[in-house]
């Protein structure tokens, strides 16, 4: 190449100096990993949640410049943001969809940790703070859509206030103290909760919740951001009608993460039981689950009872979430008839879901164990299910240039869309640009690893896919410490091919085998810093929690 970016210019040196200085801060305890190749995002859903939180913080801070939490101006100020302020529509939509994404990803994160049993290895504090974080996240999202003060927001506020009022003995006092009295107070205080109290508590808890091993995967983060914008472009959030206490509101349902609760409220059973006690019980049972779970093993397959409980909860959530959305479309019936859910029916279904979920779990475990046994009987297929696409260097440049050209085109298109008032189209395009960037970064990363990896030596058996773990590794240890990193990466797909420091082979052999969980936990103490970093990046099954 004629032109190359010098790596050691003053900026790089400055950044290195800063990086070295960070060693003296609290961050020295954290091990940040930027994966060198694609790894399943399931392992770092927490980090994605955090990234969404940061996106929400930035867009929210910008929205604060124009939003007015005053009784008669709240809705109008949101309308101004949406319709008048340049890019206000974009920021509001990103804020809205990122909030939904954050709740969704946080839920996925929780259930992934739940079924993989990660709270077992002295991660109880992480689990408990995570549950509290989840609850606060939902409250944060809830207060957010309340302060628009549309019809739907008013319904949500009235339900929140009446549920608080329904707490025995101290309910009304708690409501007065925290929500104030009257709509003016509600809007102003929900705003204070939304922009300060809750985020500050969230941040404080995150300090406790952050594990020491963090994965920051640029392509996935960009893809998530792009997906948020794309969704905002396709489903732009509406303003709702301004709340007017003299006009009958249309039928509105809360956001999807609260329709489960709403289904219970619609059963018209006692407010405190349905709206406070049931969710409280659910959260409490989640909090104590790591202390109940006494199984010695991690996998969901080896913890049938806990898995069954989790599946039951999940099934009930899914059913009630749908049920909360469902409103009888028959307009000849009275509104009350359409809205109220028969409590006997609802609770019967909830109870019925228990044996069904237990049966389902039993079946799934049987099937999984059978599949495992079958897999052991049959000889391993080459490639162990993973295929790799190896683009030649020239093609990588070509693809990158094409992607950049595509981005230039998209930039122009997005700009024209804004000029022509096609705001959601513009947002949609920006979303695609983020996705293109994700792809570009992935290609870039791939290209860099290719550059570092010289072509494999002919000592490796000439199977079409040279990723068969055991024979390939067996050939390597002949020259243990001197093996160039590229050769390692060629022969064992479980190991990143971007790590520029040579790896010691023994962990490789263990790591590539299926029983990575024991190996990674035992190695962690003995390994050097770089080694454990590599572990984090490359073995999705490794048993320490990753954000």
């Amino acid at each position: 190449m004629g032109v190359s970016l010098h790596r050691e210019n003053s900026l790089v040196r400055f950044l290195r100096w800063v990086y070295a200085g960070v060693d003296r801060t609290i961050f020295m305890g954290l091990k940040f990993t930027f994966p060198g190749r694609f790894v399943s995002p399931l392992g770092f859903l927490g980090m994605i949640t955090f990234v969404l939180f940061i996106i929400l913080g930035i867009t929210g801070a910008l929205l604060m410049l124009f939003y007015e939490p005053i009784l008669d101006r709240a809705w109008n100020s949101v309308q101004t943001i949406n319709d008048v302020i340049p890019y206000g529509f974009h920021l509001r939509n990103i804020h809205y969809h990122a909030s939904n994404a954050m709740v969704m990803v946080a839920l996925l994160h929780m259930y992934y940790q739940y079924f993989s049993g990660r709270y077992k290895i002295r991660n109880e504090i992480l689990w408990v703070t995570g549950i509290i974080l989840g609850v606060l996240t939902i409250l944060e999202a809830f207060t957010g859509y309340d302060i628009i003060f549309s019809e739907r927001a008013e319904l949500a506020i009235s339900i929140a206030a009446s549920l608080t009022n329904s707490i025995p003995i101290l309910g009304p006092q708690i409501r007065e103290a925290f929500f104030g009295s009257g709509f003016h107070d509600f809007v102003l205080r929900f705003y204070a909760f939304h922009v300060f109290f809750l985020p500050i508590v969230l941040l404080g808890l995150m300090v406790v919740h952050f594990p020491r091993f963090l994965v920051f995967d640029v392509p996935i983060v960009m893809a998530i951001s792009g997906a948020v914008m794309l969704t905002g472009g396709v489903f732009p959030v509406d303003l709702g009608l301004r709340f007017d206490p003299n006009v009958p509101p249309g039928i509105t349902v809360p956001e999807w993460y609260l329709t489960g609760l709403y289904a219970f409220l619609r059963s018209a059973y006692d407010k405190f039981t349905t709206g406070v006690a049931w969710p409280g019980l659910f959260i409490f049972s989640l909090l104590i689950i790591p202390f109940i779970d006494r199984y010695k093993k991690f996998s969901w397959k080896d913890r049938p009872l806990i898995t069954a409980i989790g599946i039951t909860g999940l099934a009930q959530i899914i059913v009630t979430t749908y049920w909360g959305f469902y409103i009888d479309p028959d307009r000849t019936k009275s509104l009350l008839e359409r809205l109220v859910i028969d409590p006997v029916f609802l609770y019967l279904v909830m109870i019925l879901l228990v044996p069904l979920s237990f049966g389902f779990t039993y079946m799934m475990i049987k099937l999984a164990k059978n599949a495992e046994a079958n897999a052991k009987l049959q000889p391993k297929k080459s490639g162990s299910g993973k295929s790799s696409i190896n683009l030649p260097q020239r093609w990588i440049f070509g693809v990158l240039i094409a992607l950049i050209a595509f981005q230039v085109y998209l930039n122009i298109a997005a700009y024209y869309a804004v000029i022509n008032g096609m705001k959601n189209y513009s947002l949609f395009i920006v979303g695609i640009m983020m996705l293109v960037f994700a792809g570009m970064f992935h290609i870039f990363r791939h290209g860099r690893s290719m550059e570092k990896a010289p072509p494999p030596k002919p000592t490796v058996p000439a199977t079409p896919l040279k990723s068969k773990p055991s024979p390939a590794v067996a050939t390597v240890p002949s020259k243990p410490a001197l093996t160039p990193p590229g050769e390692l990466s060629k022969s064992t797909p479980a190991i990143s091919n971007q790590v520029d420091k040579p790896l010691a082979p023994p962990p490789v052999a263990k790591g590539s085998s299926s029983s990575s969980q024991s190996s990674s936990t035992t190695q962690k103490s003995g390994d050097t810093k770089t080694d454990s970093k590599v572990k984090m990046a490359d073995i999705p099954e490794s048993k320490s929690i990753r954000e």
């Binding site: 009784l71 206030a161 009446s162 009022n165 006092q173 103290a177 009257g182 009958p248 009350l336």
Partner: protein, 203 residues
């Protein structure tokens, strides 16, 4: 860390434990005054110690001599100098003089009622309809209906709510020698005047 208590100390509290106890007591005493600071949280605008005028929309004070029977007006209580805050639903009250059959022709306080206009169901503003055959409070949103005599919901979603959420908050009134009507200082609790948007126990 715990040192064995020195031999012959006699008491069952060691010197070290006693010291800890003193420190704990001091800490509690230091932070005790802040408990009362919790009063910062509720909005004090509703805490009124003096009687207030019933001020009709035209600015005059309601009078037992002039206010027609079987009639209602929306009254702001407690009224502020801020027009925005006066728009607050939670400050809107329905001031009713009952129809004749419910004793509205008497020239004393028993013929008047003042209920929160915030419907107990989902906080729309209900109002009193004096027409023959209605003579009741009706909410435009989901059709809750209120008995003007007691403030109890007798139809619609509000009537299905468990007490205290089926009876409207009600302010106590008094009439002075000139016949002007005043609102007595309220007691905002479910057993007193009720809580706006939540309800009141019917006593």
């Amino acid at each position: 860390m715990a040192q064995p208590s020195p031999p012959g100390s006699g008491g069952n509290v060691s010197r070290r434990d006693f010291l800890k106890l003193l420190a704990a007591a001091g800490t509690v005493m230091t932070f005790a005054p802040f408990v009362d600071w919790g009063k910062f949280l509720p909005n004090p605008s509703g805490l009124l110690r003096e009687r207030q005028k019933v001020e009709l929309p035209d600015g005059s004070q309601a009078s037992v001599k002039t206010f027609p029977v079987n009639h209602s007006e929306a009254v702001i209580y407690p009224k502020t100098n801020d027009p925005v805050l006066n728009k607050e639903s939670f400050k809107v009250w329905q001031f009713i003089r009952l129809p004749v059959e419910l004793g509205g022709d008497k020239n004393d306080v028993s013929s008047f009622r003042m209920y929160s206009q915030v419907c107990l169901h989902l906080w729309c503003l209900w109002k009193y309809w004096p027409q023959e055959g209605r003579k009741r409070g009706e909410c435009p949103c989901h059709g809750s209906m209120y008995d003007p005599l007691t403030g109890e919901a007798f139809a619609g979603p509000a009537s299905l709510q468990a007490p205290p959420s089926n009876v409207l908050p009600r302010l106590d009134l008094e009439i002075d020698s000139q016949g002007n009507i005043w609102v007595k200082p309220p007691n905002w609790s479910v057993n007193g005047n009720g809580i706006v948007g939540f309800g009141r126990f019917l006593t």
